[in-house]
Symmetry: C2
Subunit: 381 residues, 2 copies
């Protein structure tokens, strides 16, 4: 039976037809004046979404490329780096810092939980770190970490703060400057509603000084080069021009909807998804107060992999399972970017039917009803 | 707040991305050998969906163009024509027959009901009709009329049978030959999943003989010319080449899903929609036994226009209101073509919320639950 492909993994996410259409525009030369002018206008829009006065460079590569660009442009062998790990993408920072020869201190939280602020504070007070790496929205667990608290600490103890907001920027209220984040990383394929292939880094003056004086082992991923080129509205290497067009269209859509409305939509979708999960007797992986607005992870007394497989086969919904230690144990639904309430009602209804099919007791309509109620009341509180 | 455009009027309907992509192919000359070869293969697929051995000509024009082509190619002034009218599109046949000078006899049913077979039988027994016109699926009311019974009568009393299957062909099980339909009309923008702009007419040998010997007042809409051109896999005038590509892709999708599966999907969607409407205490316009599988019309103790307006504004769902005498009184949801269960769950959930917003009593989730139950049980019976 026909089912539509409905991509609700926590990224790549759904792409609006307007964005697809933008990608069909003819390629122009990336060294042309036309491109430079376009790039300059685009960067202004990106800065609005990043809520920053800092420059945001655009890299042709995935989110990991931007993470590596940031780490490799700042870290020298022997530098002290603190990595706050609350899931798979936190681990990635630690791996990267090690690759570039840093002395890495890791603070780990159990997957599904956030970091302990006292532990982190103590560590930062005890040792002088050049760089602190943290994940804003941990895609692997659906946990949102407190970044402002880290920003305060880094300001006080003079460390650079590098934050992965790959799966939250464009969907959640992230105040890059107010939070004192020196390097804020994001990617195209999540709340930005684009296909994969671009990533972004905002660079504070303080970070730029370190970068420009650093003896970095990188070339393609050099933030020094990226920033230097961007000062002339160029890129050091050939950019993905089609995705630049797409980004421009997506930024237009986000800014037209209005940042506050976009953030509210993501918050409502998240709360509705969480309430539906709870109404079905399933268990949220993350406590509600640290739950992400872009991805909901849950588990329950049910074969989650069988449910995921049915969701795809019977209803076309691609949702994610767990990674690493959570493999086979959880389901993750992405609700970011080009997603509205009808999408959410659809996936919850489908989830109920798939749960029922594998023998889990479901009163049909109960989960959807709970999600609808959140929409009706305009939020959970 | 962002909502996706969700086109659930009873046509034009949603277009699959594959079909949109097909329309982006470069135009080729319509008098070329390449086009002729393509046309020949395409016609074979169309015949499978029409369940006919007769040739199906493709016209560049809407469903009304195909209706007019059929009437004008068969009718001469003074001819006796019987029009079975059960809604707006039945009326259109009567209007067309009058324009071409026929003596028109009209059998009318109340909107929302089907025709009375005894009345029709008596009329056909009493008077020799050259042509009988009927609507298979009356889009304005959501009623499906019994065509096989008319086919039997027309065979027995030697009248041509012209049927409008614009909003059902490709979604419902229509046996053109077995039902003895001489001229079966359909259009691109309904269950065929294409944008508007093409229409189709299957022509029986008996109809072709009449057409070829007729002194018709038409030119662009001449079925004689269309059939003559099609014998060489050409068209009399410039065809919409992009929509021919789209049609080919859509036929591939329909045939790949399998006709039986396509028909079952439409039946299930219709039953689920009907059960949801009933569970919400609303009233189906048509009795279930004559209810269409591609469009559901309903009414209730509520301001239907306010609900329609909210559905569009709050959830992006475009659904139709009533036409002519039913204007402002009903809501019509199209569930044809590129539509799956997640779409249906979404629109029902949205309907519930909009009903609640205008003060209609709703227990959130009840309608969706009823629709889910139909899916779960694999049908209503």
């Amino acid at each position: 039976m026909l089912v539509k492909n409905r991509l609700l993994i926590p990224g790549p996410s759904q792409v609006p037809p307007e964005v697809n259409a933008a990608m069909a525009r003819p390629i122009i030369g990336h060294r042309s004046g036309d491109f430079a002018k376009f790039h300059e206008e685009l960067a202004k829009k990106l800065k609005q979404i990043f809520q920053t006065e800092n420059e945001v460079v655009i890299l042709t590569g995935s989110g990991t490329a931007a993470m590596e660009a940031s780490v490799s442009s700042v870290v020298n062998p022997g530098d002290e780096v603190l990595c706050i790990v609350t899931g798979k993408f936190g681990e990635r920072f630690a791996e990267l810092a090690k690759v570039y020869g840093a002395n890495v201190t890791v603070v780990e939280a159990k997957w599904g939980e956030t970091y302990d602020l006292d532990t982190v504070t103590k560590l930062i007070q005890e040792k002088k770190f050049k760089l602190v790496c943290a994940t804003h929205n941990e895609t692997s667990t659906g946990v949102t970490n407190n970044i402002p608290a880290l920003g305060d600490l880094c300001r006080k103890y003079d460390a650079l703060l590098l934050v992965d907001a790959v799966s939250s920027m464009g969907g959640m209220d992230i105040k890059t400057d107010e939070w004192n984040v020196d390097l804020m990383v994001s990617g195209s394929q999540k709340a930005f509603m684009l296909p994969p292939g671009l990533s972004f880094v905002s660079i504070s003056p303080k970070a730029l000084e370190v970068i420009n004086n650093n003896d970095s082992t990188n070339y393609y991923l050099s933030l020094k080069k990226a920033k230097k080129s961007q000062d002339k509205w160029s890129t050091p290497y050939t950019p993905n021009v089609s995705l630049f067009y797409a980004l421009d269209e997506a930024c237009n859509m986000i800014l037209k909807e209005g940042l506050d409305t976009v953030f509210m939509r993501h918050k409502l979708l998240a709360e509705a998804c969480q309430e539906a999960v709870k109404a079905l007797g399933l268990n949220l992986l993350a406590k509600e107060e640290i739950s992400s607005y872009t991805v909901t992870a849950f588990t329950g007394n049910v074969d989650t992999e069988a449910v995921r497989s049915l969701l795809k086969k019977k209803f076309g919904f691609a949702v994610a399972g767990g990674q690493d230690s959570l493999k086979g144990k959880i389901i993750r639904i992405g609700h970011m970017g080009y997603m509205d309430f009808a999408d959410l009602f659809g996936v919850i209804a489908a989830l109920e039917l798939c749960l029922k099919e594998v023998g889990y007791p479901v009163e049909l309509g109960k989960g959807v009803g709970a999600a609808m109620d959140v929409f009706y009341r305009g939020g959970r509180d």
